[in-house]
Amino acid sequence: MLSVSNVTKRFGGLVAVSDASLKVDQGRIVALIGPNGAGKTTLFAIIGGFVTPDSGRIQFEGRDITGMPPHAICRLGLTRTFQIVQPFAGLTVRENIAIGAHLRHRGRAEALERAAIVGEQVGMGPLLDQPAQSLTVAGRKRLELARALATEAKLLLLDEVMAGLIPSEITEIVATIRKIRDSGVTILLIEHVMQAVMSLSEEAYVLNQGRMIAHGTPAQLVADPTVIEAYLGHGAAERLKQESDNA
Protein backbone atom coordinates (compact mmCIF):
# COMPACT_ATOMS: atom_id res chain seq x y z
CA MET A 1 0.00 0.00 0.00
CA LEU A 2 2.79 2.39 0.97
CA SER A 3 6.32 2.00 -0.21
CA VAL A 4 9.16 4.31 0.69
CA SER A 5 12.29 3.73 -1.36
CA ASN A 6 15.75 5.03 -0.57
CA VAL A 7 14.66 8.37 0.85
CA THR A 8 17.30 10.87 1.92
CA LYS A 9 16.81 14.29 3.50
CA ARG A 10 19.47 16.72 4.65
CA PHE A 11 19.01 19.83 6.77
CA GLY A 12 22.16 21.80 6.08
CA GLY A 13 24.96 19.50 7.14
CA LEU A 14 22.72 17.16 9.11
CA VAL A 15 21.46 14.04 7.36
CA ALA A 16 18.09 13.55 9.05
CA VAL A 17 17.01 10.62 6.90
CA SER A 18 19.51 8.58 4.95
CA ASP A 19 18.60 6.10 2.24
CA ALA A 20 15.63 4.81 4.23
CA SER A 21 13.09 2.35 2.82
CA LEU A 22 9.99 0.73 4.22
CA LYS A 23 6.83 -0.97 3.10
CA VAL A 24 3.38 -1.07 4.64
CA ASP A 25 0.87 -3.67 3.50
CA GLN A 26 -2.84 -3.09 3.54
CA GLY A 27 -4.67 -3.88 6.76
CA ARG A 28 -1.64 -3.98 9.01
CA ILE A 29 -0.38 -2.00 11.94
CA VAL A 30 3.27 -1.26 11.33
CA ALA A 31 5.50 0.49 13.86
CA LEU A 32 8.45 2.76 13.24
CA ILE A 33 10.74 2.94 16.26
CA GLY A 34 14.08 4.44 17.09
CA PRO A 35 15.75 6.81 19.55
CA ASN A 36 14.98 10.50 19.71
CA GLY A 37 16.33 12.44 16.75
CA ALA A 38 16.49 9.32 14.60
CA GLY A 39 14.53 11.02 11.85
CA LYS A 40 11.16 9.34 12.33
CA THR A 41 9.08 12.52 12.35
CA THR A 42 11.04 13.81 9.38
CA LEU A 43 10.23 10.63 7.49
CA PHE A 44 6.54 11.12 8.27
CA ALA A 45 6.76 14.70 7.08
CA ILE A 46 8.29 13.48 3.84
CA ILE A 47 5.61 10.84 3.30
CA GLY A 48 2.89 13.38 4.04
CA GLY A 49 4.29 15.89 1.56
CA PHE A 50 5.33 18.48 4.15
CA VAL A 51 9.01 18.07 3.38
CA THR A 52 10.46 17.29 -0.03
CA PRO A 53 13.15 14.60 0.07
CA ASP A 54 16.51 15.22 -1.57
CA SER A 55 16.28 11.83 -3.20
CA GLY A 56 14.14 8.73 -3.09
CA ARG A 57 10.57 7.88 -3.95
CA ILE A 58 7.28 7.46 -2.12
CA GLN A 59 4.52 5.35 -3.59
CA PHE A 60 1.02 5.11 -2.25
CA GLU A 61 -1.27 2.46 -3.73
CA GLY A 62 1.09 2.13 -6.67
CA ARG A 63 1.10 5.84 -7.37
CA ASP A 64 4.16 8.06 -7.11
CA ILE A 65 3.34 10.77 -4.56
CA THR A 66 6.86 12.18 -4.15
CA GLY A 67 6.72 15.97 -4.17
CA MET A 68 2.94 16.17 -4.09
CA PRO A 69 1.53 18.83 -1.74
CA PRO A 70 0.12 17.62 1.61
CA HIS A 71 -3.51 18.33 0.81
CA ALA A 72 -3.35 16.30 -2.39
CA ILE A 73 -1.78 13.37 -0.58
CA CYS A 74 -4.45 13.60 2.09
CA ARG A 75 -7.13 13.49 -0.57
CA LEU A 76 -5.70 10.24 -1.89
CA GLY A 77 -6.36 8.75 1.53
CA LEU A 78 -3.12 9.20 3.48
CA THR A 79 -3.36 11.36 6.60
CA ARG A 80 -0.70 12.09 9.19
CA THR A 81 -0.94 13.35 12.75
CA PHE A 82 1.59 15.58 14.46
CA GLN A 83 3.85 14.57 17.30
CA ILE A 84 3.57 18.11 18.61
CA VAL A 85 -0.21 18.34 18.62
CA GLN A 86 -1.67 21.02 16.35
CA PRO A 87 -5.25 21.64 17.44
CA PHE A 88 -7.40 24.41 15.99
CA ALA A 89 -7.17 26.03 19.37
CA GLY A 90 -10.13 28.38 19.14
CA LEU A 91 -12.57 25.71 17.99
CA THR A 92 -14.45 23.04 19.91
CA VAL A 93 -13.57 19.37 19.65
CA ARG A 94 -16.56 18.82 17.37
CA GLU A 95 -15.54 21.66 15.06
CA ASN A 96 -11.96 20.40 15.01
CA ILE A 97 -13.03 16.95 13.89
CA ALA A 98 -15.52 18.44 11.43
CA ILE A 99 -12.65 20.11 9.55
CA GLY A 100 -11.30 16.63 8.87
CA ALA A 101 -14.76 15.32 7.98
CA HIS A 102 -15.23 18.10 5.44
CA LEU A 103 -12.73 16.42 3.16
CA ARG A 104 -15.39 13.91 2.15
CA HIS A 105 -18.51 15.78 3.23
CA ARG A 106 -19.24 19.17 1.78
CA GLY A 107 -22.24 20.15 3.87
CA ARG A 108 -21.62 21.82 7.20
CA ALA A 109 -24.34 19.91 9.05
CA GLU A 110 -23.22 16.63 7.57
CA ALA A 111 -19.60 17.24 8.57
CA LEU A 112 -20.61 18.14 12.12
CA GLU A 113 -22.67 14.98 12.30
CA ARG A 114 -19.76 12.88 11.07
CA ALA A 115 -17.57 14.64 13.60
CA ALA A 116 -19.80 13.51 16.43
CA ILE A 117 -19.71 9.92 15.22
CA VAL A 118 -15.92 9.90 14.91
CA GLY A 119 -15.63 11.63 18.27
CA GLU A 120 -17.66 8.87 19.91
CA GLN A 121 -15.53 6.29 18.14
CA VAL A 122 -12.34 7.56 19.79
CA GLY A 123 -14.02 8.06 23.12
CA MET A 124 -14.38 11.83 22.99
CA GLY A 125 -18.18 11.80 23.09
CA PRO A 126 -18.51 13.78 26.31
CA LEU A 127 -15.88 16.30 25.22
CA LEU A 128 -17.40 17.25 21.87
CA ASP A 129 -18.39 20.76 22.93
CA GLN A 130 -15.26 21.57 24.91
CA PRO A 131 -12.89 24.10 23.39
CA ALA A 132 -9.84 22.27 22.07
CA GLN A 133 -7.72 24.60 24.18
CA SER A 134 -9.11 23.17 27.39
CA LEU A 135 -8.17 19.57 26.64
CA THR A 136 -5.55 17.62 28.59
CA VAL A 137 -2.54 16.13 26.82
CA ALA A 138 -4.39 12.85 26.43
CA GLY A 139 -7.39 14.69 25.03
CA ARG A 140 -5.28 16.55 22.51
CA LYS A 141 -3.58 13.37 21.33
CA ARG A 142 -6.96 11.80 20.88
CA LEU A 143 -8.16 14.83 18.98
CA GLU A 144 -5.23 14.50 16.56
CA LEU A 145 -6.28 10.93 15.98
CA ALA A 146 -9.96 11.78 15.62
CA ARG A 147 -9.37 14.56 13.09
CA ALA A 148 -7.17 12.34 10.96
CA LEU A 149 -9.68 9.52 11.19
CA ALA A 150 -12.45 11.86 10.09
CA THR A 151 -10.75 12.34 6.73
CA GLU A 152 -11.69 8.71 6.10
CA ALA A 153 -8.10 7.88 5.31
CA LYS A 154 -7.03 4.49 4.06
CA LEU A 155 -3.65 4.87 5.71
CA LEU A 156 -3.05 6.75 8.97
CA LEU A 157 0.39 7.94 10.03
CA LEU A 158 0.33 8.33 13.80
CA ASP A 159 3.27 10.16 15.34
CA GLU A 160 3.66 9.27 19.02
CA VAL A 161 0.00 9.46 19.93
CA MET A 162 0.78 7.80 23.26
CA ALA A 163 3.67 9.91 24.45
CA GLY A 164 2.90 11.64 27.72
CA LEU A 165 -0.10 9.48 28.56
CA ILE A 166 -0.58 7.50 31.76
CA PRO A 167 -0.85 3.70 31.49
CA SER A 168 -4.65 3.56 31.70
CA GLU A 169 -4.93 6.11 28.92
CA ILE A 170 -2.49 4.10 26.85
CA THR A 171 -4.55 0.97 27.27
CA GLU A 172 -7.59 2.86 26.07
CA ILE A 173 -5.94 4.39 23.03
CA VAL A 174 -4.36 1.05 22.09
CA ALA A 175 -7.84 -0.45 22.03
CA THR A 176 -9.07 2.47 19.94
CA ILE A 177 -6.29 2.06 17.41
CA ARG A 178 -6.97 -1.62 17.11
CA LYS A 179 -10.64 -0.88 16.51
CA ILE A 180 -9.69 1.57 13.78
CA ARG A 181 -7.53 -1.03 12.08
CA ASP A 182 -10.35 -3.57 12.30
CA SER A 183 -12.60 -1.13 10.50
CA GLY A 184 -10.26 -1.38 7.53
CA VAL A 185 -7.74 1.40 8.03
CA THR A 186 -4.05 0.62 7.65
CA ILE A 187 -1.78 2.18 10.27
CA LEU A 188 1.85 3.21 10.39
CA LEU A 189 2.80 4.49 13.81
CA ILE A 190 5.81 6.00 15.49
CA GLU A 191 5.96 4.95 19.08
CA HIS A 192 8.20 5.18 22.06
CA VAL A 193 6.00 3.24 24.40
CA MET A 194 7.34 -0.25 23.76
CA GLN A 195 4.47 -1.91 25.55
CA ALA A 196 2.16 -0.43 22.96
CA VAL A 197 4.35 -1.42 20.06
CA MET A 198 4.54 -4.95 21.32
CA SER A 199 0.83 -5.33 21.76
CA LEU A 200 -0.29 -3.43 18.68
CA SER A 201 1.95 -4.07 15.76
CA GLU A 202 2.75 -7.14 13.80
CA GLU A 203 5.74 -5.56 12.19
CA ALA A 204 8.26 -2.88 13.05
CA TYR A 205 11.07 -0.92 11.47
CA VAL A 206 13.97 0.53 13.43
CA LEU A 207 15.44 3.85 12.39
CA ASN A 208 18.67 5.14 13.85
CA GLN A 209 20.52 8.28 12.85
CA GLY A 210 18.45 8.40 9.70
CA ARG A 211 19.20 4.83 8.65
CA MET A 212 16.78 1.93 8.63
CA ILE A 213 18.73 -0.63 10.57
CA ALA A 214 16.30 -3.43 11.27
CA HIS A 215 12.93 -4.81 10.29
CA GLY A 216 10.92 -7.68 11.72
CA THR A 217 8.26 -8.61 14.20
CA PRO A 218 8.54 -6.76 17.50
CA ALA A 219 9.36 -10.05 19.16
CA GLN A 220 12.25 -10.56 16.76
CA LEU A 221 13.52 -7.03 17.35
CA VAL A 222 13.27 -7.39 21.09
CA ALA A 223 15.22 -10.58 20.87
CA ASP A 224 17.88 -8.92 18.77
CA PRO A 225 20.29 -7.72 21.44
CA THR A 226 22.45 -5.73 19.05
CA VAL A 227 19.47 -3.69 17.91
CA ILE A 228 18.40 -3.03 21.44
CA GLU A 229 21.73 -2.27 23.00
CA ALA A 230 22.88 -0.15 20.12
CA TYR A 231 19.74 1.75 19.33
CA LEU A 232 17.48 1.83 22.31
CA GLY A 233 20.22 2.44 24.83
CA HIS A 234 21.97 0.36 27.44
CA GLY A 235 19.79 -1.72 29.64
CA ALA A 236 16.95 -1.52 27.20
CA ALA A 237 16.99 -5.24 26.55
CA GLU A 238 16.18 -5.95 30.15
CA ARG A 239 13.47 -3.32 30.28
CA LEU A 240 11.82 -4.57 27.13
CA LYS A 241 11.75 -8.12 28.39
CA GLN A 242 9.99 -7.00 31.51
CA GLU A 243 7.52 -4.92 29.59
CA SER A 244 6.72 -7.70 27.18
CA ASP A 245 6.25 -10.10 30.08
CA ASN A 246 3.77 -7.71 31.60
CA ALA A 247 1.88 -7.06 28.39
Partner: protein, 328 residues
Protein backbone atom coordinates in the same frame (compact mmCIF):
# COMPACT_ATOMS: atom_id res chain seq x y z
CA UNK B 1 -27.13 25.48 16.57
CA UNK B 2 -25.95 28.93 17.46
CA UNK B 3 -28.15 31.06 19.61
CA UNK B 4 -28.25 34.79 19.87
CA UNK B 5 -27.67 36.32 23.27
CA UNK B 6 -29.66 39.14 24.79
CA UNK B 7 -26.77 41.52 24.29
CA UNK B 8 -26.57 40.65 20.62
CA UNK B 9 -30.31 41.20 20.16
CA UNK B 10 -29.98 44.64 21.67
CA UNK B 11 -26.89 45.52 19.63
CA UNK B 12 -28.13 44.29 16.26
CA UNK B 13 -31.66 45.46 16.96
CA UNK B 14 -30.41 48.93 17.78
CA UNK B 15 -28.35 49.13 14.62
CA UNK B 16 -31.18 47.87 12.43
CA UNK B 17 -33.59 50.30 14.05
CA UNK B 18 -31.25 53.21 13.40
CA UNK B 19 -30.58 52.23 9.80
CA UNK B 20 -34.26 51.61 9.03
CA UNK B 21 -35.40 54.80 10.70
CA UNK B 22 -33.03 56.69 8.49
CA UNK B 23 -34.53 54.93 5.49
CA UNK B 24 -38.05 56.06 6.23
CA UNK B 25 -37.26 59.39 7.89
CA UNK B 26 -34.27 60.77 6.06
CA UNK B 27 -32.28 63.45 7.84
CA UNK B 28 -29.62 65.20 5.81
CA UNK B 29 -27.36 65.53 8.80
CA UNK B 30 -27.41 61.82 9.65
CA UNK B 31 -27.49 60.63 6.06
CA UNK B 32 -24.16 62.17 5.14
CA UNK B 33 -22.43 60.58 8.08
CA UNK B 34 -24.10 57.20 7.71
CA UNK B 35 -23.51 56.86 3.96
CA UNK B 36 -19.83 57.43 4.53
CA UNK B 37 -19.71 54.93 7.39
CA UNK B 38 -21.59 52.31 5.38
CA UNK B 39 -19.21 52.58 2.43
CA UNK B 40 -16.33 51.96 4.80
CA UNK B 41 -18.36 49.13 6.33
CA UNK B 42 -18.52 47.40 2.93
CA UNK B 43 -14.74 47.51 2.73
CA UNK B 44 -14.56 46.25 6.30
CA UNK B 45 -16.78 43.30 5.46
CA UNK B 46 -14.39 42.58 2.61
CA UNK B 47 -11.37 42.74 4.92
CA UNK B 48 -13.10 40.52 7.45
CA UNK B 49 -13.43 37.62 5.02
CA UNK B 50 -9.70 37.18 4.67
CA UNK B 51 -8.48 38.90 7.84
CA UNK B 52 -11.20 37.88 10.26
CA UNK B 53 -12.05 34.39 9.09
CA UNK B 54 -8.79 33.48 7.39
CA UNK B 55 -6.45 35.25 9.81
CA UNK B 56 -4.44 36.86 6.99
CA UNK B 57 -4.22 40.50 7.97
CA UNK B 58 -3.95 42.82 5.02
CA UNK B 59 -2.64 46.32 5.60
CA UNK B 60 -3.33 47.31 2.03
CA UNK B 61 -7.00 46.81 1.37
CA UNK B 62 -7.05 50.28 -0.12
CA UNK B 63 -5.53 48.59 -3.19
CA UNK B 64 -8.86 46.86 -3.79
CA UNK B 65 -11.04 49.81 -2.84
CA UNK B 66 -8.98 52.15 -4.97
CA UNK B 67 -9.01 49.84 -7.97
CA UNK B 68 -12.79 49.73 -7.79
CA UNK B 69 -13.09 53.50 -7.59
CA UNK B 70 -10.46 54.33 -10.21
CA UNK B 71 -11.60 51.79 -12.79
CA UNK B 72 -15.21 53.02 -12.60
CA UNK B 73 -14.09 56.62 -12.84
CA UNK B 74 -11.64 56.11 -15.69
CA UNK B 75 -14.01 54.01 -17.79
CA UNK B 76 -16.78 56.60 -17.48
CA UNK B 77 -14.76 59.74 -17.86
CA UNK B 78 -12.08 58.67 -20.33
CA UNK B 79 -14.02 56.28 -22.52
CA UNK B 80 -17.63 57.24 -21.89
CA UNK B 81 -18.64 53.78 -20.80
CA UNK B 82 -21.97 53.41 -19.03
CA UNK B 83 -21.46 53.68 -15.25
CA UNK B 84 -23.25 50.43 -14.50
CA UNK B 85 -21.04 48.58 -16.94
CA UNK B 86 -18.04 50.43 -15.58
CA UNK B 87 -19.04 49.30 -12.08
CA UNK B 88 -19.13 45.68 -13.14
CA UNK B 89 -15.75 46.04 -14.85
CA UNK B 90 -14.37 47.71 -11.72
CA UNK B 91 -15.47 44.85 -9.51
CA UNK B 92 -13.90 42.37 -11.92
CA UNK B 93 -10.70 44.43 -11.92
CA UNK B 94 -10.55 44.60 -8.13
CA UNK B 95 -11.10 40.84 -7.97
CA UNK B 96 -8.24 40.35 -10.40
CA UNK B 97 -5.92 42.67 -8.46
CA UNK B 98 -6.78 40.78 -5.28
CA UNK B 99 -6.13 37.47 -6.97
CA UNK B 100 -2.80 38.70 -8.28
CA UNK B 101 -1.61 40.02 -4.91
CA UNK B 102 -2.80 36.91 -3.09
CA UNK B 103 -1.42 34.44 -5.61
CA UNK B 104 2.00 36.06 -5.48
CA UNK B 105 2.09 36.46 -1.69
CA UNK B 106 0.72 33.06 -0.78
CA UNK B 107 2.66 31.21 -3.45
CA UNK B 108 5.78 32.31 -1.66
CA UNK B 109 4.37 31.51 1.74
CA UNK B 110 4.10 35.04 3.11
CA UNK B 111 2.18 35.35 6.34
CA UNK B 112 1.94 37.45 9.45
CA UNK B 113 3.86 40.67 9.27
CA UNK B 114 5.29 39.82 5.84
CA UNK B 115 1.83 39.59 4.33
CA UNK B 116 0.80 42.82 6.03
CA UNK B 117 3.83 44.61 4.61
CA UNK B 118 3.54 43.24 1.09
CA UNK B 119 -0.11 44.28 0.83
CA UNK B 120 0.82 47.72 2.12
CA UNK B 121 3.54 47.93 -0.51
CA UNK B 122 1.13 46.98 -3.30
CA UNK B 123 -1.25 49.72 -2.22
CA UNK B 124 1.63 52.22 -2.21
CA UNK B 125 2.71 51.18 -5.70
CA UNK B 126 -0.83 51.73 -6.96
CA UNK B 127 -0.99 55.08 -5.17
CA UNK B 128 2.16 56.30 -6.84
CA UNK B 129 1.05 54.98 -10.24
CA UNK B 130 -2.37 56.60 -9.96
CA UNK B 131 -0.89 59.97 -9.09
CA UNK B 132 1.77 59.83 -11.80
CA UNK B 133 -0.16 59.31 -15.00
CA UNK B 134 -2.30 61.59 -17.09
CA UNK B 135 -4.93 58.93 -17.72
CA UNK B 136 -5.68 58.54 -14.03
CA UNK B 137 -5.84 62.25 -13.49
CA UNK B 138 -2.34 62.59 -12.03
CA UNK B 139 -2.15 64.54 -8.81
CA UNK B 140 -5.56 66.13 -9.40
CA UNK B 141 -7.60 62.95 -9.40
CA UNK B 142 -10.74 62.35 -11.43
CA UNK B 143 -13.96 64.29 -11.22
CA UNK B 144 -17.06 62.59 -12.64
CA UNK B 145 -19.52 65.08 -14.16
CA UNK B 146 -22.75 65.35 -12.23
CA UNK B 147 -25.65 63.98 -14.24
CA UNK B 148 -28.23 62.52 -11.92
CA UNK B 149 -30.33 59.66 -13.20
CA UNK B 150 -30.71 55.94 -12.78
CA UNK B 151 -28.95 55.24 -16.08
CA UNK B 152 -25.97 57.19 -14.80
CA UNK B 153 -25.85 55.46 -11.44
CA UNK B 154 -26.14 58.86 -9.76
CA UNK B 155 -28.93 60.02 -7.57
CA UNK B 156 -29.99 63.58 -6.87
CA UNK B 157 -31.61 62.37 -3.72
CA UNK B 158 -29.29 61.37 -0.90
CA UNK B 159 -31.70 58.89 0.57
CA UNK B 160 -31.64 56.89 -2.66
CA UNK B 161 -27.87 56.73 -2.45
CA UNK B 162 -28.29 55.70 1.14
CA UNK B 163 -30.69 52.91 0.23
CA UNK B 164 -28.28 51.66 -2.39
CA UNK B 165 -25.29 51.66 -0.06
CA UNK B 166 -27.34 49.98 2.65
CA UNK B 167 -28.37 47.34 0.14
CA UNK B 168 -24.71 46.69 -0.68
CA UNK B 169 -23.88 46.30 3.01
CA UNK B 170 -26.68 43.79 3.43
CA UNK B 171 -25.52 41.82 0.39
CA UNK B 172 -21.94 41.82 1.66
CA UNK B 173 -23.07 40.59 5.07
CA UNK B 174 -25.21 37.89 3.50
CA UNK B 175 -22.17 36.74 1.57
CA UNK B 176 -20.28 36.59 4.87
CA UNK B 177 -23.10 34.57 6.41
CA UNK B 178 -23.02 32.14 3.51
CA UNK B 179 -19.27 31.79 3.85
CA UNK B 180 -19.56 31.23 7.57
CA UNK B 181 -22.03 28.41 7.06
CA UNK B 182 -20.06 26.71 4.31
CA UNK B 183 -17.14 24.36 4.09
CA UNK B 184 -15.14 27.18 2.56
CA UNK B 185 -15.64 29.23 5.73
CA UNK B 186 -14.72 26.31 7.94
CA UNK B 187 -11.54 25.89 5.91
CA UNK B 188 -10.67 29.56 6.28
CA UNK B 189 -11.09 29.34 10.02
CA UNK B 190 -8.98 26.19 10.09
CA UNK B 191 -6.23 28.07 8.27
CA UNK B 192 -6.45 30.92 10.76
CA UNK B 193 -6.26 28.57 13.72
CA UNK B 194 -3.48 26.31 12.43
CA UNK B 195 -2.28 26.24 8.86
CA UNK B 196 -0.12 23.12 9.18
CA UNK B 197 -2.98 21.11 10.60
CA UNK B 198 -5.25 22.42 7.87
CA UNK B 199 -2.87 21.12 5.21
CA UNK B 200 -2.63 17.74 6.90
CA UNK B 201 -6.41 17.42 6.77
CA UNK B 202 -6.55 17.88 3.02
CA UNK B 203 -7.19 21.60 2.76
CA UNK B 204 -5.63 23.32 -0.23
CA UNK B 205 -4.62 26.31 1.84
CA UNK B 206 -3.20 28.27 -1.07
CA UNK B 207 -6.36 27.99 -3.12
CA UNK B 208 -8.58 28.74 -0.13
CA UNK B 209 -6.66 31.90 0.76
CA UNK B 210 -6.53 33.15 -2.81
CA UNK B 211 -10.26 32.59 -3.27
CA UNK B 212 -10.98 34.42 -0.02
CA UNK B 213 -8.85 37.35 -1.14
CA UNK B 214 -10.61 37.43 -4.51
CA UNK B 215 -14.02 37.45 -2.85
CA UNK B 216 -12.67 40.18 -0.61
CA UNK B 217 -11.49 42.01 -3.73
CA UNK B 218 -14.91 41.86 -5.33
CA UNK B 219 -16.60 43.30 -2.25
CA UNK B 220 -13.82 45.83 -1.64
CA UNK B 221 -14.08 46.88 -5.28
CA UNK B 222 -17.81 47.38 -4.82
CA UNK B 223 -17.04 49.66 -1.90
CA UNK B 224 -14.82 51.72 -4.21
CA UNK B 225 -17.56 51.90 -6.81
CA UNK B 226 -20.04 53.03 -4.17
CA UNK B 227 -17.61 55.69 -2.99
CA UNK B 228 -17.07 57.05 -6.47
CA UNK B 229 -20.74 57.12 -7.42
CA UNK B 230 -21.56 58.86 -4.15
CA UNK B 231 -18.89 61.56 -4.15
CA UNK B 232 -18.16 61.66 -7.90
CA UNK B 233 -14.50 62.27 -7.16
CA UNK B 234 -11.44 60.18 -6.48
CA UNK B 235 -7.76 60.88 -6.06
CA UNK B 236 -4.77 58.74 -5.21
CA UNK B 237 -4.47 59.51 -1.48
CA UNK B 238 -8.16 58.78 -0.89
CA UNK B 239 -8.20 55.68 -3.06
CA UNK B 240 -4.92 54.02 -2.21
CA UNK B 241 -3.71 55.89 0.88
CA UNK B 242 -3.10 54.28 4.23
CA UNK B 243 -6.22 55.82 5.77
CA UNK B 244 -8.52 53.57 3.78
CA UNK B 245 -6.39 50.50 4.50
CA UNK B 246 -6.53 51.28 8.20
CA UNK B 247 -10.26 51.95 8.18
CA UNK B 248 -10.76 48.58 6.48
CA UNK B 249 -9.32 46.71 9.43
CA UNK B 250 -10.53 48.95 12.27
CA UNK B 251 -14.17 47.99 11.84
CA UNK B 252 -13.75 44.23 12.02
CA UNK B 253 -11.20 44.31 14.81
CA UNK B 254 -13.17 46.69 16.96
CA UNK B 255 -16.51 45.13 16.09
CA UNK B 256 -15.35 41.52 16.23
CA UNK B 257 -13.16 39.83 13.63
CA UNK B 258 -14.51 36.70 12.02
CA UNK B 259 -18.13 37.48 12.78
CA UNK B 260 -20.92 38.49 10.42
CA UNK B 261 -21.90 41.65 12.28
CA UNK B 262 -18.47 42.72 13.51
CA UNK B 263 -17.42 44.94 10.58
CA UNK B 264 -20.70 46.89 10.52
CA UNK B 265 -20.88 47.23 14.29
CA UNK B 266 -17.26 48.35 14.55
CA UNK B 267 -17.43 50.81 11.68
CA UNK B 268 -20.64 52.45 12.87
CA UNK B 269 -19.36 52.74 16.42
CA UNK B 270 -16.02 54.30 15.60
CA UNK B 271 -17.51 56.61 13.02
CA UNK B 272 -20.13 57.60 15.54
CA UNK B 273 -17.45 58.29 18.13
CA UNK B 274 -15.34 60.19 15.63
CA UNK B 275 -18.28 62.32 14.55
CA UNK B 276 -19.17 63.09 18.15
CA UNK B 277 -15.61 64.09 18.88
CA UNK B 278 -15.58 66.37 15.87
CA UNK B 279 -18.66 68.19 17.15
CA UNK B 280 -17.38 68.47 20.68
CA UNK B 281 -13.96 69.79 19.72
CA UNK B 282 -14.59 71.68 16.55
CA UNK B 283 -11.77 72.64 14.26
CA UNK B 284 -9.56 69.78 15.38
CA UNK B 285 -8.57 67.78 12.33
CA UNK B 286 -7.46 64.27 13.06
CA UNK B 287 -8.79 64.16 16.58
CA UNK B 288 -11.34 61.55 15.52
CA UNK B 289 -8.43 59.44 14.30
CA UNK B 290 -6.71 59.77 17.66
CA UNK B 291 -9.89 58.39 19.15
CA UNK B 292 -9.85 55.47 16.68
CA UNK B 293 -6.34 54.64 17.78
CA UNK B 294 -7.25 54.72 21.45
CA UNK B 295 -10.35 52.60 20.93
CA UNK B 296 -8.32 50.09 18.93
CA UNK B 297 -5.79 49.71 21.73
CA UNK B 298 -8.42 49.38 24.41
CA UNK B 299 -10.30 46.75 22.39
CA UNK B 300 -7.13 44.74 21.80
CA UNK B 301 -6.36 44.77 25.48
CA UNK B 302 -9.77 44.26 27.02
CA UNK B 303 -12.08 42.86 24.34
CA UNK B 304 -10.15 40.50 22.10
CA UNK B 305 -13.42 39.34 20.54
CA UNK B 306 -14.53 42.90 19.89
CA UNK B 307 -17.86 44.46 20.68
CA UNK B 308 -19.81 41.54 19.25
CA UNK B 309 -17.87 39.27 21.59
CA UNK B 310 -18.86 41.49 24.48
CA UNK B 311 -22.51 41.49 23.44
CA UNK B 312 -22.45 37.69 23.32
CA UNK B 313 -21.53 37.54 26.95
CA UNK B 314 -24.34 39.81 28.04
CA UNK B 315 -27.57 38.32 29.20
CA UNK B 316 -28.94 34.80 29.19
CA UNK B 317 -28.29 32.58 26.31
CA UNK B 318 -29.98 29.28 25.76
CA UNK B 319 -27.63 26.33 26.16
CA UNK B 320 -26.22 24.47 23.18
CA UNK B 321 -22.89 26.23 22.79
CA UNK B 322 -22.31 23.89 19.85
CA UNK B 323 -22.19 24.35 16.18
CA UNK B 324 -20.92 27.28 14.27
CA UNK B 325 -17.21 27.90 14.39
CA UNK B 326 -18.04 31.53 14.73
CA UNK B 327 -18.41 30.92 18.46
CA UNK B 328 -14.78 31.12 19.26
Amino acid sequence: MKTTSFGEWVLYGGICAYLLTLLVMPSQLWLGFTINALIVAILSVAWNLLGGFGGQMSFGHAALFGTGAYVTAMLQVRWGINPWLAAVAAIVAATAVAGFIAALSFRYGLRGSYFALVTLAFAEVLRILASSFEISGGGQGILVPYKAGLANFQFADRSTTYALVLFLVVVAMLITLAVQRSRFGAYLIAIRENEEAAKALGIDTFRTKVLAMMLSGAIGGAAGVAYLQTYLFIDAPIAFGSTMSIEALLGPIIGGAGTVWGPLVGTLIIHGLGETAKHLVSGAPGLNLVLYGVVLMVILRYLPDGIVGLARRIGPRRAAPTAMPEDR
